[in-house]
C-alpha cells in the first residue's frame, strides 16, 4: 500500500537525478567531496541480505523497528501506545513537506533516496511515549531508507537510530542512503540519537530535515565512525523561533575515509536558541569536513545561538576542513561561534605520563574523554549497542 504513495516519488527522483547529474566540485557544498566515491555508491545494485546475529537484545521498554529489508518493518511490530502509523492519504500529504520547508527537497542525496526508496516508516506521536529504536540494516549494495515522524503538540519521544555496518573488510560494498523528516509541534520534545558505525567499504548519505514549532525542543546527537565515504546533513528550521535546538556530533575517521557533516539551522522567528557542538577526530590519511551554517534573518530577534567546532588531527597525513557560516540580519541577537583544530593537548598527555601512564594509554584516555562528551549524550537505548560487537566503541583509538 505504501508502494502506491512511493511510486510517484521514485519516478520523480529518477527524473531529477537525471536532470541534476552528479554533483560537481564547482558547487560549494561538494567542493571537498570525494566525488568518485559518491558516484561509486550511487551505482551500486539494490541491497540484499542482513546479518543480525551480533545485534544486542532490545533494551527494556524500547520498541525496535528494522528497515532496509524487503519486509514491511511495521508488520510484525506492536507500536508503543501513542505511536501510530500514518494512513496512505496522510502520508501522501505529509511526505516531503518538511524537506521542502527546509530547502532540501531537490538536493542530490535526497533525490537519490527518492529514486531508490522502497519503504517509508511514517509515524505519528501523541503524548509522551516509550522509546523507539530504528535500525537501518543492509548486507551489501545500495539501500534507501526513509522515515517520517510527526510529533504532535506536547508529544515526547526518545528515538535512537542505529546503522550497524560493521562488516568483514572483504565484504562487497555497502551504501546507505537515508532521509528522515521530523515535524515537531508546539512544546513537543524529541531526543534523537544516530549511531552509525561501519567498517570496510561502506558509504553513508544521511539527510535530516527537522521543522520546529515554537517551544519545541530538538536534541540531536550523532556519532559516526568508520565510513569510507560519509555525509551527514542535518537541517533544522525553527518556523516561528522560540524553540530550542541542540546539535551534538562526533565524526571519527581513519584509514582513507572521508566524512563530512553539513549542518544548517535557520531561525524564522524570534527568541530561538541553538547550542551546537561538533567534534571530529581525523587519523591516518582520512579527511574530516565540517560545514555549519546558521541563518538569523531579521524576524529572528533575540536569537541565542552558539556553535563550536572542535577538531582533533591525529596524523600528519590526515586533513581537517572546518567552515562555520554565520548570516545575521537581526541586531538584538547573541551569536557566538568558534572552531579549533589541534592534536591532543601535550600538557595533558605529559601530566598523565608523569603519573606513570604509558604514552599510548594516555592518548587513548584523552581521546576517550574527548569523545565521551558527545557519546554520553546519546539516548539511553544506545547503551547495549555501544557494548555490543555490532558497532565499534566510538572512543576506541583509531
Amino acid at each position: 500500500m505504501v508502494k502506491s504513495v512511493l511510486a510517484p516519488v521514485q519516478e520523480r527522483g529518477q527524473v531529477n537525478l537525471e536532470k541534476l547529474g552528479l554533483p560537481s566540485r564547482r558547487e560549494e557544498a561538494w567542493r571537498l567531496a570525494d566525488l568518485k566515491r559518491l558516484e561509486a555508491m550511487a551505482s551500486l545494485p539494490p541491497a540484499e541480505g542482513v546479518v543480525e546475529q551480533s545485534w544486542p537484545a532490545v533494551a527494556q521498554a524500547v520498541t525496535r523497528l528494522v528497515i532496509g529489508t524487503e519486509a514491511d518493518p511495521l508488520e510484525t511490530v506492536q507500536l508503543p501506545e501513542g505511536v501510530s502509523r500514518l494512513s496512505d492519504s496522510e502520508l501522501e500529504q505529509a511526505l516531503g513537506h518538511t524537506l521542502d520547508r527546509c530547502g532540501c527537497a531537490e538536493t542530490w542525496p535526497v533525490e537519490l533516496n527518492h529514486a531508490h526508496s522502497r519503504h517509508v516508516v511514517a509515524l505519528r506521536v501523541r503524548g509522551s511515549v516509550a522509546p523507539l529504536e530504528i535500525v537501518l540494516a543492509a548486507g551489501s549494495g545500495l539501500v534507501s531508507t526513509r522515515v517520517l515522524l510527526l510529533l504532535e503538540e506536547k508529544a515526547e519521544l526518545d528515538l535512537l537510530q542505529v546503522i550497524p555496518a560493521e562488516r568483514d573488510h572483504a565484504a562487497p560494498p555497502l551504501a546507505h542512503s537515508h532521509v528522515i523528516e521530523v515535524h515537531l509541534g508546539q512544546e513537543a520534545r524529541l531526543r534523537h540519537g544516530l549511531l552509525a558505525s561501519a567498517s570496510g567499504d561502506a558509504s553513508l548519505l544521511a539527510h535530516l530535515a527537522v521543522e520546529q514549532e515554537p517551544r519545541s525542543s530538538y536534541d540531536f546527537v550523532s556519532v559516526c565512525r568508520g565510513w569510507r565515504f560519509g555525509r551527514l546533513e542535518p537541517r533544522v528550521l525553527q518556523v516561528d523561533g522560540q524553540a530550542t535546538t541542540r546539535l551534538n556530533g562526533l565524526a571519527m575517521t581513519g584509514g582513507d575515509e572521508q566524512f563530512a557533516t553539513h549542518t544548517g539551522v535557520c531561525f524564522q522567528g524570534p527568541e530561538g536558541a541553538l547550542d551546537q557542538l561538533q567534534k571530529a577526530v581525523a587519523a591516518d590519511r582520512s579527511h574530516s569536513i565540517f560545514n555549519g551554517a546558521i541563518q538569523v534573518p531579521r524576524a529572528a530577534q533575540r536569537t541565542d545561538a552558539s556553535q563550536l567546532s572542535r577538531n582533533l588531527l591525529l596524523s600528519s597525513r590526515a586533513r581537517v576542513d572546518a567552515k562555520p557560516e554565520l548570516e545575521i540580519v537581526a541586531d538584538d541577537v547573541r551569536c557566538a561561534h568558534g572552531a579549533t583544530v589541534s592534536q591532543l593537548q601535550q600538557d595533558q598527555l605529559f601530566y598523565l605520563r608523569s603519573r606513570g601512564v604509558a604514552a599510548d594509554e594516555a592518548a587513548a584516555l584523552l581521546l576517550k574523554g574527548y569523545c565521551c562528551e558527545v557519546v554520553d549524550r546519546l539516548p539511553a537505548a544506545a547503551a547495549p549497542w555501544l557494548t555490543s560487537s555490532a558497532v565499534s566503541d566510538p572512543a576506541r583509538p583509531l
Binding site: 577538531n311 562555520p324 557560516e325 540580519v329 541586531d331 547573541r334 561561534h337 568558534g338 579549533t340
Partner: protein, 479 residues
C-alpha cells in the same frame, strides 16, 4: 524615554566628493590588446613589461568574473571604462614647484599637503591622481638611506631589474580575474625597496585619488624588504561623488626576506555612493604578502569605510620558518554598502604564526561579510593561528556574515577561531548617558572601543583619524 535619534541629525556629507577641473590626457573607452599596448607605449615601458601585460590580458579573456562573494551588483561593462587618464603635464616634475598648482591644491584639500612648507614632517607621501603619480616627497632624504620610494612608472625606468625580479612573484598575473585585469592595464602606483639591514627612517604613504568619472583605477604597488629591513607603509584613498560607479582594481605585492618586516596600513574612504546606493566605487583588490624569509613579518591593518562594493582579502603566505602574518581589520558599512573582506593565512613553513582580528560594523541596509581562510600545510609543524571575528550590528536592516574557513593538514599545529556578534546595548548606552556623555558620543565611544584592538595597530598619526572617520560615517545611522 530618551528619544534622541541620530537618524534625525543631519548626516555628514562625504567631504572629499569634489572634482578637480583639470585637463586630462585620456584614451578612449574600451579594452583590447591595442589598449594594453597603448598604455605600455605611453609609459615607454621595456618589453618584459609589455609581455607581462599581454600575457595577463590574454589570460583575463579566458576568465569569468567571480561570483562566490556575498555581493550583488549589476554586471560591469568592461568596454565602458577608460583605462588610462592622466593630468596633462609633460613630464613628472623634478621639483614640486613645477607641479600644476591645481593638483597641489587638490591634495591640500584632501589633507595631504605636498609642498615643502606644509608637508607632514615624518611621513613621505606619493600622491597618485587618476592613473599617474604626480609627486613623491622626501625622495632625496630616503635615498640617503638607500630606500627607494617612487611611483611605479619611475621605478620601471630607474630600477627595471628590481621590477623584473619581483613583479608578479606574489600575485601572479593569472591569479584571479581582477588581478589579471590589473596586470594587463595597471597604470601607476608605488614602489618601495628597503635594502638589506635598513630600517626605513620615516613612514611611507601613498595617497590615491580618483578624479575622472569614467576612469578605472588600476594601481600596482610593490614593496620589497630585504634581509633585516623594515618599513611601515600607509595608503589612503578618496574619490569624488559621481552617480555612476567606478572600478578600482588594485594589486599589492609585498615581499619580506629573512628577518624583514613590512607593516601595511590602509585607510580606505573611497566614495561609497549615496544613501540609496547610487554611485560609489567598486573596490576589487588583490593584496598579498609573502614572508619569503625566515623570521620575516608582514602585518596588514585596514580600516575600510568607503566604496559601494569592497572585495578584498589582504593575505600572507608564510613560507619562511618562524615567519609571522597579521591581519587587523575594521570594516564599516552603512546605507547600501556591501563589503566582503577578510584574509588568507597560508602556513607553509615550520613554526609560522598568524593572528587575525576582524571587526565588522554593519549599519543601515548594508551587508558586511568576513571571509577568511587559515590553511596549515603539511610542512607547517608547530604553526599557530588565532582568529577573532566580531560583528556589531546597528539597526535591524543590516547584515553581518562570517565565513571563517580552516584547513589543516598538520597535527602539530593549533588553530583557534572565535567569533561573536554584538550590538550596542541599551544598558551600556544608558550607563554612559547617565554619566553625562551625550548619545552620539556614547555611540562613538562604544564603536571605537569595539575597534580598539585594530586602531592600536595603526601608525599613531592615523589612529585618531580613523576614529574620527568612523564616527563620521556612522552619523545618522543609530536610532
Amino acid at each position: 524615554m530618551t528619544s534622541t535619534s541620530t537618524r534625525d541629525l543631519v548626516s555628514q556629507p562625504y567631504k572629499y566628493g569634489f572634482v578637480t577641473e583639470i585637463e586630462t590626457d585620456k584614451i578612449a573607452k574600451g579594452l583590447s590588446e591595442d589598449v594594453v599596448r597603448l598604455i605600455s607605449a605611453k609609459k615607454e615601458e621595456p618589453d618584459f613589461l609589455l609581455q607581462f601585460r599581454l600575457k595577463a590580458f590574454r589570460h583575463w579573456l579566458t576568465l569569468e568574473e567571480p561570483d562566490w562573494a556575498a555581493l550583488g551588483y549589476p554586471p560591469i561593462d568592461y568596454q565602458d571604462i577608460v583605462y588610462y587618464a592622466a593630468p596633462k603635464q609633460q613630464e613628472k616634475k623634478a621639483s614640486l614647484d613645477e607641479v600644476d598648482p591645481k593638483l597641489l591644491e587638490t591634495f591640500d584639500k584632501l589633507g595631504i599637503p605636498l609642498s615643502e612648507q606644509k608637508r607632514l614632517s615624518n611621513v613621505a607621501v606619493d600622491a597618485v591622481f587618476d592613473s599617474v603619480s604626480i609627486a613623491t616627497t622626501y625622495k632625496e632624504k630616503l635615498a640617503e638611506h638607500g630606500v627607494v620610494f617612487c611611483s611605479f612608472s619611475e621605478a620601471v625606468k630607474e630600477h627595471p631589474d628590481l621590477i623584473e625580479r619581483y613583479l608578479g612573484t606574489v600575485v601572479a598575473s593569472n591569479d584571479n580575474y581582477f588581478a589579471a585585469l590589473n596586470s594587463a592595464v595597471f597604470s601607476d602606483g608605488s614602489f618601495v625597496f628597503i635594502p638589506k639591514g635598513v630600517e626605513c627612517p620615516m613612514e611611507l604613504s601613498t595617497y590615491f585619488r580618483i578624479n575622472s568619472g569614467d576612469t578605472g583605477q588600476f594601481e600596482r604597488t610593490l614593496i620589497v624588504a630585504e634581509d633585516g629591513a623594515s618599513v611601515s607603509y600607509l595608503e589612503g584613498c578618496t574619490a569624488p561623488m559621481f552617480d555612476t560607479n567606478q572600478l578600482h582594481a588594485a594589486v599589492v605585492e609585498l615581499v619580506a626576506l629573512d628577518d624583514a618586516s613590512i607593516k601595511y596600513s590602509t585607510v580606505q574612504n573611497w566614495y561609497a555612493g549615496d544613501e540609496n546606493g547610487v554611485g560609489g566605487i567598486y573596490n576589487f583588490v588583490t593584496k598579498r604578502g609573502q614572508c619569503r624569509g625566515a623570521r620575516s613579518r608582514i602585518s596588514w591593518t585596514q580600516v575600510e569605510t568607503g566604496s559601494a562594493i569592497t572585495w578584498k582579502y589582504p593575505s600572507c603566505v608564510l613560507q619562511g620558518a618562524d615567519s609571522v602574518g597579521e591581519f587587523y581589520s575594521v570594516a564599516l558599512t552603512n546605507n547600501r554598502q556591501q563589503a566582503d573582506t577578510g584574509t588568507k593565512m597560508v602556513h607553509v613553513g615550520p613554526r609560522t604564526r598568524s593572528t587575525i582580528v576582524s571587526k565588522g560594523i554593519s549599519a543601515g541596509h548594508s551587508s558586511n561579510s568576513y571571509r577568511g581562510l587559515v590553511q596549515i600545510g603539511p610542512g607547517a609543524s608547530g604553526a599557530r593561528n588565532y582568529s577573532q571575528c566580531d560583528s556589531m550590528l546597528i539597526g535591524d536592516q543590516a547584515g553581518a556574515n562570517t565565513y571563517p574557513y580552516i584547513r589543516s593538514q598538520q597535527p602539530d599545529s593549533a588553530v583557534e577561531h572565535e567569533a561573536s556578534t554584538c550590538r550596542i546595548s541599551e544598558d551600556q548606552l544608558f550607563y554612559l548617558q547617565s554619566r553625562g556623555i551625550g548619545f552620539e558620543e556614547a555611540v562613538s565611544m562604544m564603536v571605537s572601543g569595539f575597534c580598539r584592538d585594530v586602531f592600536n595597530q595603526l601608525p599613531m598619526e592615523f589612529a585618531a583619524e580613523a576614529d574620527k572617520l568612523l564616527a563620521l560615517k556612522l552619523e545618522g545611522s543609530v536610532g
